[in-house]
């Protein structure tokens, strides 16, 4: 690599870090509570869903920009896109049966790209989490710490999931000591269980769909195994039948493992970033930011590769009849 390129990269990384860290310092994260569920911001629209739509638009815009600027001799960004594309396609072609590779590719590749964006969005959490709507609650930050872009302290709505707290607050606290909670407008979509469960459902349902398409009703033989009774006697037959049932059960547990693995990693990453950035000066935060970059990539890759493997396993003929 040229020295100039390295300097450029370092410069951009520095700028990005300054923005992130500057945001953390200028708008300190006095979050009263860490909420597992995505908070609604406009009616039924939650902040995570809102961010997901935004990121989708960003991905689409980038896509259009890339596909309109495709050149025979690629520039830096096109090179990056091509490398990623060939990496994903190579992986799919190596794993999936030939017949199905072209069908699997758009789904699993989109999972990877989409999750990469949503996971890496969680890096901005320390900054974005302090922008938002506020509502009064009993355990929150003092209202004096809030800078208002719009409205004032007099018109703070009561937090929805704190109906009891509201009654309590009205009785005990005068207006000046109102405590509020910030409901951030942006939230990394992968820290919303709705997203992870939705993706897990897509992965598992499509797995069954592809399996049935490939093997017909014979696909269910994998779960309801009666063949062994005749072949290997009642004991082995019973064991094999139970194994088949467990296999069937594992299809459902996949949904849970898929969704909670991703959610847990990203949500925990956000919490760590919030806590660390409110505890120490920025140098240590940089370490955790780097760590979260790694985790975000790895989790996107794991979701991608597991989906690909399950799709491939469902459509491959293992020769069950032979053993």
């Amino acid at each position: 690599m040229k020295k100039e390129t390295i300097l450029k990269v370092i410069m951009w990384i520095t700028i990005a870090l300054i923005i992130m860290i500057g945001g953390t310092i200028l708008w300190p994260t006095d979050r009263g509570a860490i909420v597992v569920a995505a908070e609604p911001i406009f009616g039924p629209l939650t902040n995570a869903l809102f961010t997901s739509f935004l990121l989708t638009l960003v991905i689409m815009a980038l896509t259009l920009w890339v596909s309109n600027n495709l050149k025979e001799s690629p520039g830096h960004f096109q090179n990056l896109v091509e490398v990623m594309f060939e990496f994903l396609e190579g992986m799919v072609n190596d794993t999936a049966p030939k017949k199905w590779a072209a069908t699997f590719f758009p789904i699993v590749a989109t999972i990877f790209i989409y999750l990469l964006f949503t996971n890496w969005f969680s890096l901005f959490t320390p900054m974005w989490a302090s922008f938002g709507l506020i509502c009064s609650t009993e355990r929150g930050i003092p209202i004096e710490h809030v800078t208002f872009f719009k409205g004032s302290g007099a018109t703070v709505p009561v937090c929805e999931h704190g109906a009891k707290a509201e009654a309590h607050a009205k009785e005990s606290f005068p207006e000046a000591e109102t405590k509020v909670m910030v409901v951030p407008i942006f939230r990394a979509p992968s820290s919303d269980l709705n997203l992870t469960v939705a993706l897990a459902l897509i992965a598992v349902v499509l797995t069954q769909f592809f399996g049935i398409q490939e093997k017909g009703l014979g696909y269910f033989k994998n779960f309801l195994r009666f063949d062994s009774f005749a072949k290997q006697g009642p004991l082995m037959g019973f064991i094999d039948f139970a194994v088949g049932l467990l296999e069937g059960l594992s299809e459902f547990t996949k949904i849970i493992s898929f969704s909670f693995r991703l959610f847990g990693n990203i949500f925990a990453g956000e919490v760590i970033l919030i806590i660390i950035s409110s505890l120490v000066s920025f140098l240590l935060v940089v370490v955790f930011l780097g760590f979260e970059v790694f985790v975000g990539f790895i989790q996107a890759f794991i979701f991608f590769i597991l989906t690909l493997i399950f799709f491939s396993m469902a459509t491959q003929h293992h020769g069950e009849e032979q053993h």
């Binding site: 597992v36 569920a37 995505a38 039924p44 939650t46 869903l49 997901s52 739509f53 989708t56 991905i59 689409m60 896509t63 259009l64 890339v66 596909s67 495709l70 025979e72 896109v81 091509e82 594309f85 060939e86 396609e89 590719f105 758009p106 789904i107 590749a109 989109t110 999972i111 790209i113 989409y114 979509p189 919303d192 269980l193 709705n194 997203l195 469960v197 939705a198 993706l199 459902l201 897509i202």
Partner: protein, 163 residues
């Protein structure tokens, strides 16, 4: 489920969001990029094939050139040889001619010399005989008959011839 924030509307929203993204990316990213990569691959393959062809042609031409050159060299060599041979022959011939001529001149000179010598010899003999005759005549007088005279002369000439 509610505490975790999982709602049906949320799930559906994300599924729809994801599906739209899949179709969008398939249409505007995967297809064009794959097409571009394939196009580049074929272009590169074509370029390589063309280069190979050109190289092959150049090789062929070089070989042709070399064989022609070798041929020309061989021709010129034989030509030169022929010329050298001809020259050699000519030289030999000239030499031989010269030798022959020299020989001829030599033999002619020899014969001429011998002839002259012989002529000279006979003349001297004749004159010597004449002188002897005259001297004898003076010493003996004129009484000697013709027959004795001849005999003496012959004897003298025979002696002279031996000398």
């Amino acid at each position: 489920m509610e505490a975790l924030g999982i709602t049906l509307s949320g799930l559906i929203a994300y599924i729809v969001n994801f599906s739209i993204l899949v179709f969008f990316l398939q249409r505007f990213l995967y297809k064009p990029v794959r097409g571009m990569l394939e196009q580049r691959q074929t272009r590169i393959a074509e370029g390589l094939a063309a280069a190979e062809k050109v190289r092959h042609e150049a090789d062929q031409q070089r070989q042709e050139f070399e064989s022609e050159l070798a041929k020309a060299r061989a021709t010129s060599r034989t030509e030169a040889q022929k010329i050298a041979e001809a020259t050699e022959k000519m030289r030999q011939k000239i030499l031989e001619d010269a030798k022959k001529e020299a020989e001829q001149i030599k033999t002619q000179a020899k014969t001429e010399a011998t002839q002259e010598k012989q002529q000279l010899g006979t003349e001297i003999k004749r004159e010597a005989a004449e002188l002897a005759m005259q001297m004898t005549r003076k010493i003996v007088g004129t009484g000697l008959d013709e027959k004795v005279q001849r005999k003496l002369l012959d004897q003298f000439l025979a002696n002279l011839g031996d000398a």
